[in-house]
């Protein structure tokens, strides 16, 4: 639904809805009033024609549900036509600046005998475009929004990383404690002596391992666990190959000359193309 018009007076905007009852006896207010924060309804004007027998009872309600209080009405006008002839009624009812958000669905309800023709209902409203100062940079009190800065994840705050750092720190402190306990300073004479000692111990260890391997091998050999071929050496005979083809002229004569073969191939290709072309030309 389109709203009829706005009129500006200083900062407040005044306006009127179109006929809310143009599509029937019930209407949805979100289609009638602009969805503006702080909008207030100031007046309700309605008109309809009551068609009835003067002797019958008829009551007409023009009303809007109250969104803040279920089962109640934020606006309700009653026309009692009982015992009266029907007529066209026009009513303009001031509303005490009630927030538009409280205006729930509206309706015209007829009780008794008779009907309502040509319903017409218009809501007058007003609102401050700067009710929410952030709605426009032109509004007083507008605060420029601060852009969202993405939070940078500090890898040091990660639990796994922190655990690893702690573990290394503990290891390092343990090594330092060990060195301190041994009283050895890196690069000193004691340190060099220690390194040489470790190298000698390593050589001795290797020699003892090799002697142990030899002893084990000898023991196994004595037990005849291995076949003789295991330790027998293989002979390496010399194979001399002198293959060659003696050319007495017969081999060359049996070969087809290359130029002749090319010509035969060309002739076959030519014949093939002629056959194919003849199929298309048919």
């Amino acid at each position: 639904m389109v709203y009829s018009h706005f009129s500006y007076s200083s900062d407040i905007v005044f306006g009127q809805s179109l006929n809310a009852a143009s599509d029937g006896m019930r209407w949805v207010m979100t289609n009638v009033l602009p969805q503006q924060m702080g909008l207030e309804v100031t007046n309700v004007l309605y008109r309809y024609t009551a068609v009835k027998d003067p002797d019958t009872g008829m009551i007409v309600y023009v009303q809007n549900e109250d969104t803040a209080n279920e089962g109640e009405y934020v606006f309700r006008s009653v026309d009692d036509w009982s015992g009266l002839p029907g007529n066209t009624i026009t009513k303009s009812i001031p509303v005490n600046a009630i927030l538009g958000s409280r205006f729930g669905d509206g309706e015209i309800v007829v009780e008794g005998e008779g009907r309502v023709d040509d319903p017409f209902i218009v809501y007058s409203y007003r609102f401050d475009p700067c009710f929410n100062p952030q709605s426009s940079p032109d509004c007083e009190g507008f605060i420029p929004p601060i852009p969202d800065i993405p939070e940078v994840a500090d890898p040091l705050e990660d639990d796994y990383v922190q655990d690893e750092i702690d573990r290394k720190a503990v290891m390092r402190s343990e090594e330092d404690e060990e060195e301190e306990r041994e009283g050895v300073v890196e690069g000193s004479e004691e340190d060099l002596e220690k390194q040489m000692l470790e190298e000698r111990l390593g050589i001795a260890m290797e020699s003892s391992l090799a002697a142990m391997d030899n002893a084990t091998e000898m023991a196994l050999a004595n037990m005849n666990v291995f076949p003789n071929s295991y330790s027998a050496s293989l002979t390496s005979p010399e194979y001399v190959s002198k293959a060659y083809i003696s050319d007495n002229g017969t081999l060359v004569k049996t070969l087809v000359r290359q130029s002749r073969g090319i010509r035969m191939n060309n002739a076959q290709d030519k014949l093939h193309r002629a056959l194919v072309r003849s199929q298309f030309e048919r």
Partner: protein, 163 residues
Amino acid sequence: MFRKLLVCAVFSASVAAENVPINGTVEGNCIVVPDTSGVYGNPSADVLSTAATDGGVLPVVRYDVVLADYYKAVITTPTSFSQSPGLADTVAWTGSAAVHEVSDAGMSAYDTNKIEYNATTEFDLTIAGSTWFEMESKAEYGGDKPFPGGNYTAMVEANCIAK
């Protein structure tokens, strides 16, 4: 001396006397507003009528009453043309007034309780608010003669009279 003074005092008091005005304003509690101008249709040569069926438009007048049950609407339909070509024959006038629109359902009863006499209709405005009245006027030229060509204007008189 004393008498003199007294006289002087009396004299001076009489000289100082002033008339003190008391001002007050009474707002109009009944307003008559022309709503729609009527138009005469010419369904036949000797008839001018405001009825819609005759091609005319009914004039409408609105009464705004602030105080209930203090005023009467007195509406008189035309009995002569205020402007017309020269008419050699007599014109027979008929007219009526009726409630056209209301601002309160109870005003619909004005029609039932209205008083008619001559070309005048009286409505008792018992309810505060606005009431729209429409008037019908019909002029028939005498002797079945056609109205002479020209412009015709007639006036409806709508009054709000205190009861």
